[in-house]
Amino acid sequence: MAIINRGFGRRRPEPAEGARLPPGQYLTHDFPVLSAGPTPHPDLAEWTFTVGEEARWSWEQFLALPAETPTVDIHCVTSWSKFETSWKGVSVDSLFAGLEVEKYDGFATAYCDGGYTTNLPLSDLTGGKAWVVYEYEGEPLPPAHGGPARLLVPHLYFWKSAKWVRGIRFHEEDEPGFWETLGYHDRGDPWREQRYQGD
């Protein structure tokens, strides 16, 4: 039984590409910021990116990896979506290349400066669906938006696109990350409205 709020109605024009908007989302042209604490400002001379326990890149080495420039729609669990955002970074597939990632056949935790973590099934990180990006709209990624580098997993709610990411760990079991421990969904598919545990 849904409650009808009489007198309530759409006040914003329906976006022309309405089908691109997942359920319960609205289109914004801003880029709101959400984070749990202060913005870290890591020293790039000491910055590294680590995959598993096997692979580590310095900032210079990371920038030298083959880059891709995805343009994607992003969806925040707080209900805003933003279309056609453009990024530059390294696909997670190429970060995993040469590693025996499949032997884990399970789950990953992205971990970050500031202590933030988020969990993802490996299948959501591979197959051309995820990147570690360091440019936004042709400019270095601003710290407030996750610079120097953030995860980009646009087919999931945007908290999965961890800001200030420093590495990826592998697990056989799904281990809830920061927001997931606090009640947010373990997968976070916006098309299924997987906002909170149990959705």
Partner: protein, 247 residues
């Protein structure tokens, strides 16, 4: 790192508005009865879902204003002129109306009296709402945690909960007005900066628990300055609303 919040499903609940309090010309508090409300912690929020007669629906997050000790759920909604949900909540909702909501949501930006103090609360505009829930919780539990609140407001007439802030007194509350101050005002009349924070904040050695809530630019500046003053980043918890939301 996170406190133990049960990972329970945030069910959709039907709330009945019991009272509408006009806080300022722009903001109302909706006091709601929510059957089966599991209780909440100071600082948490709810997601309000509105459904139009044609099926169109929109949902937005609002901080809970009442302390856990007070039954039900109260949210304070500031009307944003270009908003979709907030004008309806702030202008059209009457006592007796029903709203759908989910919650409580969020377990990071919370304070429990058992966590102790001292507390440093820094609010920009309506970012005061979750911090007021903490101060009300502190009072309701008789907590002896020392607390200080620094509130940045554009002008006097938009300050929420003015009477309660006055009751808390100057020992707890420091106000700064960024656009217009009341006649005879002798306090600060500028944006929150390092000097103001240094004046209000506890010393880093006191290890205050720090909660900052407001527009994103405000939160960024305050958090950065507090870290620069020597406060450990892990003791600084932030909640932000961007230019486009919550609306």
């Amino acid at each position: 790192m996170a406190a133990g919040i049960p990972r329970t499903r945030a069910e959709l609940k039907v709330a009945t508005v019991e009272r509408v309090i006009h806080e300022t010309p722009q903001a109302v508090t909706l006091e709601m009865d929510v059957p089966d409300w599991p209780g909440h912690r100071a600082g948490q929020h709810v997601e309000v879902r509105l459904t139009a007669e044609d099926g169109y629906r929109a949902q937005r997050s609002y901080s809970i204003a009442n302390p856990p000790e007070q039954a039900g759920v109260a949210i304070t909604v500031e009307r944003l002129d270009d908003g979709e949900v907030s004008p309806y909540l702030a202008e059209a909702v009457r006592a007796g109306d029903q709203l759908e909501l989910r919650g409580p949501i969020g377990g990071w930006f919370t304070w429990d009296a058992r966590d102790g103090g001292p507390l440093l609360l820094v609010a920009g505009g309506s970012g005061l709402v979750p911090l007021m829930s903490m101060l009300r919780h502190r009072r309701a539990t008789g907590s002896d945690a020392p607390a200080r609140l620094l509130l940045s407001a554009q002008r006097p007439e938009v300050v929420l909960y003015r009477d309660e802030l006055a009751e808390l007194g100057d020992d707890v509350v420091t106000l700064t007005y960024t656009r217009a101050a009341p006649p005879g005002w002798t306090g600060a009349t500028r944006r929150v900066d390092r000097a103001l924070l240094e004046q209000v904040a506890w010393a880093p050695a006191d290890e205050p628990r720090i909660y900052i809530c407001g527009p994103t630019g405000f939160v960024d500046v305050v958090a950065d300055e507090l870290v620069a003053l020597g406060h450990a980043p892990e003791r600084v918890r932030t909640e932000r609303f961007g230019a486009s939301g919550p609306s």
